[in-house]
Symmetry: C2
Subunit: 221 residues, 2 copies
């Protein structure tokens, strides 16, 4: 075998080994991520059912049927869990809002799309944590992070309301106050909604959007 060929073979073998190691690492990381996500989901459910302060890491471990030390491999403490749940929920919402912005269209259609994305958040566990638990249990850094994410969502609602007034599809209004009314009516769903109730999350959100869009008062004609 020529030196060139031997070198080339050696290189290929090193590459293969690296690829194999990397697959192994990826699989392990994916598994870790999945398990970490299971911890967050389970904790979020317990926070909703029992309240944040009344839930302990022991409760989370018990429901997952793992030991508490195992839990510590995935999360630092209860406060970190809450922050992760809530900020992941907000992050997904911001991505959804970005996607509907990229899709383009009239401001009114984009506004409705945003309302749906936000409505989906508050009818799911991470969003319900945001609404029901609040941020009292967080560190000031955690609170700052959430405040920034929430403010981005709020700004997007205001921008779309202002653009809708501009394009003539929405009633002239104070976009800040109107954005608060929209976010308020939708957010409150997260306070009372139960996934085993009479209506699906999508139905409740759609009803709320309809009420906000057309109003309650019947117009003549």
């Amino acid at each position: 075998m020529s030196t060139t060929k031997r070198n080339s073979n050696r290189k290929a073998s090193v590459l293969l080994e690296t690829a194999a190691t990397s697959v192994w690492t990826n699989v392990r990381e994916q598994q870790r991520e999945m398990k970490r996500n299971a911890v967050l989901q389970t904790a979020a459910r317990l926070f909703i059912e029992r309240g944040f302060h009344a839930t302990s890491l022991d409760d989370v471990a018990a429901r997952l049927n793992v030991s508490k030390p195992t839990l510590y491999y995935y999360v630092k403490n209860k406060e970190e869990i809450l922050l992760q749940c809530v900020s992941q929920g907000l992050e997904m919402t911001l991505e959804g809002i970005d996607a509907s912005r990229r899709a383009g269209g009239n401001a009114i259609d984009q506004l409705i799309a945003c309302m749906r994305v936000y409505g989906r958040l508050v009818t799911q566990d991470f969003g319900m944590c945001l609404i029901r638990v609040g941020d009292e249990g967080l560190t000031s850094e955690g609170r700052d992070q959430l405040r920034k994410q929430k403010s981005s969502i709020d700004k997007e609602f205001r921008r779309l309301v202002a653009a809708g007034v501009e394009e003539g599809s929405l009633n002239p209004c104070d976009p800040k106050m109107t954005a608060f009314a929209i976010a308020g009516a939708l957010s409150w769903i997260g306070r009372w909604y139960q996934s085993d109730g009479e209506y699906s999350g999508d139905e409740v959100v759609q009803h709320c959007i309809d009420t906000l869009m057309t109003g309650i008062v019947r117009r003549a004609g």
Copy 2:
């Protein structure tokens, strides 16, 4: 002096004494009630500023410039304070709603009156406690009491929405879902409203009512 006259004088004197004692007792009771109310108001403000769990009875005593034992003369513990704040707020709201019902008029006018009364609650300290603190810190009896009061308010909103649809002043709708959207948009004000902000509480509430009544979408014509 005749026996009759003497008896009559004695009776008068006893009556005067009883009246005096009762004035004394009344004044004392009124003072106690005023002081107790000051404890509730101060605690409510601290719950809003710092959060319920982060506020101690020591903090309340310090702000009132009294000793903790003095505080215990008026309240049992932090949980009782929260329950008293929130249930007093709800009670006042129910009284306001009753008054507007007795005043009569169209369902739509009564509904707007109810929205104003509820809006006033959530822009005041006791109502903000209801919205921001929630009921996790309460005993199950306390939670039951609040649930009944909140349910009475909710029922009144539903009844008025249904009556408004019936009288033809409101759009046909599912009164339950519409009542949730109304209470949600108004309740959320209590989550972000600050009395030293750009708008007064009444302005914020009125804007929210207008948005809910006329809707966001501009209609042709």
